[in-house]
């Protein structure tokens, strides 16, 4: 499980959870939206 923590413009937390298959498919353009303050693979 991969957890990517980002912060929305209004300061609210937004966390993406991806599992192996989807993480591999995520387009590069989709990565880096929002401000990532922590990225963790679990």
């Amino acid at each position: 499980m991969h957890r990517e923590v980002t912060v929305k413009e209004d300061g609210r937390l937004l966390v993406y959870y991806t599992f192996a298959a989807t993480a591999a498919e995520t387009p590069a353009a989709d990565k880096g939206i929002g401000k990532t303050d922590k990225e963790t693979s679990l």
Binding site: M1, K8, L14, Y17, F19, T22, T26, D30, G34
Partner: protein, 327 residues
């Protein structure tokens, strides 16, 4: 929050929630991924397995303002401290938890566990309450498949009452109340309608709603944080069976409230020897066309009147597809 001295419980006032999104059309869903050139939704990314974000219209807040009124000795007030999160199950607007394959449900259980641990680790959080309201009959305001998490800084009254019963039973018997309930229910068998190696689904002896269903870990597992990988798969499998039985019951997607009860997160684990992970479902339907309302007796006296026998309703759910052996 305002203290109710009559019932000895806190009431949350959250006036900003009056303006929250209410049944938007499917093409204007704030929980769908933001479409190219479309209006910005809560989720900028186009592909994900699960997304969790802080509720735009929270009942409890990390940094709550001062209460709108000044309290008194009789009427204390305090800031509505806590965290409210939304858990999106899918980017597909039309899917439901019931549509999820077992593998994806097992992934969702990992997400629930992670939120329980992340939120529960915060000093101010005493109880992490994971739940889902499904269907307009329950008062759902957005149809996109999602659940919610309320991380409370105070112990909610129903949870507190359950903890007191657990503690009393443990003091009297040195046993877990829920383990004894599982033993009694499995021994009797009439109210059990599905079970696998790790979990059992039943309508409890004391059910308040006709199809009220509890899913229990058979072993004494206090919380999601204590799950093994096997437990996650076992729960996912039984959850899949129960949800699909619900939808086969009347031939439509059954509304429900789904809530999780587990160990509080306010410190010493040994303080709660009787906490035992379980999920409770409260479907409001008593027949395909009729709903159970919380009317005068339930709301005013606190006594539920169940118009059915749990033994008969469990037999219905046992008979309806799917069965565990179908998998």
């Amino acid at each position: 929050m305002r203290w109710n001295p009559v019932m000895a419980e806190w009431v949350v006032t959250a006036t900003h929630r009056q303006d929250r999104t209410f049944l938007p059309p499917a093409d204007y869903c704030p929980l769908c991924p933001t479409a190219e050139g479309g209006f910005p939704t809560e989720v900028p990314r186009s592909k994900y397995d699960f997304v969790v974000f802080e509720n735009k219209f929270p009942s409890l807040m990390k940094n709550p303002g001062e209460p709108a009124v000044v309290g008194s000795d009789l009427y204390p007030v305090q800031p509505s401290l806590g965290i409210c999160e939304v858990v999106l199950y899918s980017s597909d607007h039309k899917s439901t938890l019931t549509d999820m394959p077992v593998e994806k449900l097992a992934q969702l259980i990992k997400v629930w566990r992670d939120r329980y641990e992340q939120l529960g680790a915060r000093d101010e959080i005493r109880y992490v309450f994971i739940f889902e309201n499904k269907g307009e009959a329950i008062g759902v305001t957005i149809h996109h498949p999602h659940g919610q998490i309320y991380a409370f800084s105070h112990m909610p009254p129903r949870i507190e009452r359950e903890l007191q019963s657990e503690a009393q039973h443990f003091a009297n018997t040195k046993r877990c109340l829920h383990c004894d309930i599982i033993k009694e229910e499995r021994g009797d068998g009439r109210r059990v309608f599905a079970e696998n190696v790790g979990f059992v689904a039943l309508i409890p002896f004391y059910a308040r709603y006709p199809y009220e269903t509890h899913i229990y870990a058979k072993q004494h597992i206090p919380s999601l944080a204590d799950f093994s990988e096997e437990n996650e798969t076992q729960l996912a499998q039984l959850l899949h069976v129960v949800l699909n039985k619900f939808d086969h019951l009347f031939g439509f997607s059954l509304p429900y409230m789904m809530v999780m009860h587990q160990r509080p997160t306010d410190g010493d684990h040994s303080a709660y020897p009787g906490s035992h992970f379980h999920i409770e479902f409260y479907p409001p339907n008593r027949t395909a066309e009729k709903l159970k309302f919380l009317a005068g007796c339930e709301s005013g006296a606190g006594t539920f009147v169940n118009d059915t026998l749990p033994e008969e309703k469990a037999a219905e759910l046992r008979a309806v597809k799917p069965h565990l052996e179908d998998f």
